[in-house]
């Protein structure tokens, strides 16, 4: 390798950087290499660029800090819950369109103008069967809001729609078998809002929602299987709507 001094006409740093990255067109590359072979300074520059690349490759790995891991996990869990609820709502709307929502009984309640949407257990037996989650798409575990004792009250507002002004309370849930509703209804006073399939404590469960005497609150009763005539009640709670 020559130790000749760097001539004024030699390639600048950008050209040498391009040479090291194989970016020059063949004619320019030949000229640059010819110069470098005769120029100690340019050879040193190329070596320095290689050395810089090596130092970059040997930078140590960086682990995500625990607090960021926790934050990201929580954000994704929240997103999963929202997506699950949204999926259920979209699919419920599609199902209602397919079934012909005209078959649904609409009960107009007095006072607060609350509408309760409810498909009759007796009037559409075949449809109720379909709505009971026997199709694979509807009953996928991921479609169910994943709740537990702590998260259940806070989830009520996100599950129950409406309730402002004359806007009716409604729930994009499954049809509500009357036997199930009657068996869990408190004193026969509170009015049914709807039933939705959830995951509760890691298991597939049904949540039955009722109005309460407080228009700002809804009662939710978690049962093991609302298609049963006398389901087991696993939890009763109330949440803001």
């Amino acid at each position: 390798m020559s130790t000749a001094p760097h001539p004024a006409s030699g390639p600048d740093l950008d050209v040498l950087a391009d040479l090291s990255a194989d970016l020059l067109v063949p004619a320019d590359e030949r000229a640059a290499r010819a110069h470098v072979e005769a120029c100690a300074e340019c050879s040193t520059v190329l070596q320095a660029l290689d050395r810089t690349g090596s130092q970059l490759r040997w930078l140590p790995p960086i682990a995500m800090p625990p607090d960021v891991v926790t934050r990201i996990d929580a954000a994704l869990a929240s997103e999963a819950s929202v997506v699950s609820i949204d999926q259920r709502r979209r699919r419920r709307v599609r199902r209602q369109q397919l079934l012909g929502i005209a078959a649904a009984g609409v009960i107009v309640l007095g006072g607060g103008g609350v509408l309760v949407s409810q498909l009759g257990h007796d009037t559409s037996g075949a449809d109720v069967s379909a709505g009971a989650g026997n199709d694979g798409e509807e009953s996928a575990p991921s479609e169910r809001p994943d709740l537990d004792e702590d998260s259940l009250p806070g989830a009520v507002r996100g599950l129950v729609n409406g309730g402002e002004g004359d806007e009716p309370l409604e729930l994009e849930g499954t049809p509500a078998p009357q036997d199930c509703v009657a068996s869990v209804q408190v004193g026969g006073v509170d009015e049914l809002i709807g039933v939705i399939e959830i995951r509760y404590g890691g298991r597939d469960r049904d949540a039955v929602f009722f109005t309460t005497s407080d228009p700002a609150l809804a009662r939710v009763i978690v049962v093991d299987d609302c298609s049963r005539q006398d389901p087991e009640i696993e939890a009763i709670d109330e949440g803001q709507i």
Partner: protein
């Protein structure tokens, strides 16, 4: 109201641990609630490193990674498998970093603290190596963000140039050029070269 699990929605955690990235993403799209978490667990450190070294700010890096992963979570169904899943994830993270950097252009980047740039530190590292690492990290922070992002992906994270080009949405030649010019600046910053 019995539930039946659709194909692709099942899978034990041990099965997820050995599944490919593509299989995990497909399982997530099919409703497996654990698959995306496994994907994140597998790649989060590399995604974090890219975000931190690109944004030069831990808060911004956390914001960018969170925003990117939620976007990936929502849009997983649009992934067509034309690149590796990890390239797709890095593209989303890098773009989130660049968007954030543009939005906050008025705010100067800050030098990473030692505990941030060397976590976990290798106890075998010699002091000189650690000091050199800090110097390189600081020099990286002084690069224009486009050059920095290219160098972080190609030189630091070891991505093929083609993958980095796809991640950043620019031609391969542009990535090579950004890396070359960035290395030249770094070489000067690190004192390997006298000013030319």
């Amino acid at each position: 109201m019995a539930a039946s699990r659709p194909a692709g929605a099942g899978g034990t955690s041990s099965a997820l641990g050995t599944a490919s990235d593509d299989a995990l993403l497909a399982a997530h799209v099919n409703g497996n609630s654990d698959a995306f978490n496994e994907l994140v667990r597998r790649h989060r450190d590399r995604l974090w490193a890219v975000a931190l070294r690109t944004t030069r700010n831990p808060e911004d890096a956390a914001d960018a990674v969170q925003e990117a992963l939620i976007s990936a979570f929502r849009n997983a169904g649009s992934f067509r498998g034309q690149s590796a899943v990890t390239t797709w994830l890095h593209r989303i993270v890098v773009n989130a970093c660049l968007d954030l950097a543009r939005r906050r252009a008025a705010r100067p980047s800050v030098a990473l603290r030692e505990e941030e740039s060397f976590q976990p530190a290798d106890p075998r590292d010699r002091i000189a190596e650690r000091e050199l690492g800090i110097a390189v990290e600081e020099a990286l922070g002084r690069l224009p963000i486009d050059q920095r992002a290219a160098i972080v992906l190609v030189d630091v994270q070891g991505f093929p140039v083609a993958d980095a080009a796809e991640a950043l949405g620019v031609p391969i030649g542009t990535i090579k050029s950004r890396c070359a010019r960035g290395r030249a600046r770094l070489a000067c910053s690190l004192g390997h070269l006298r000013d030319r």
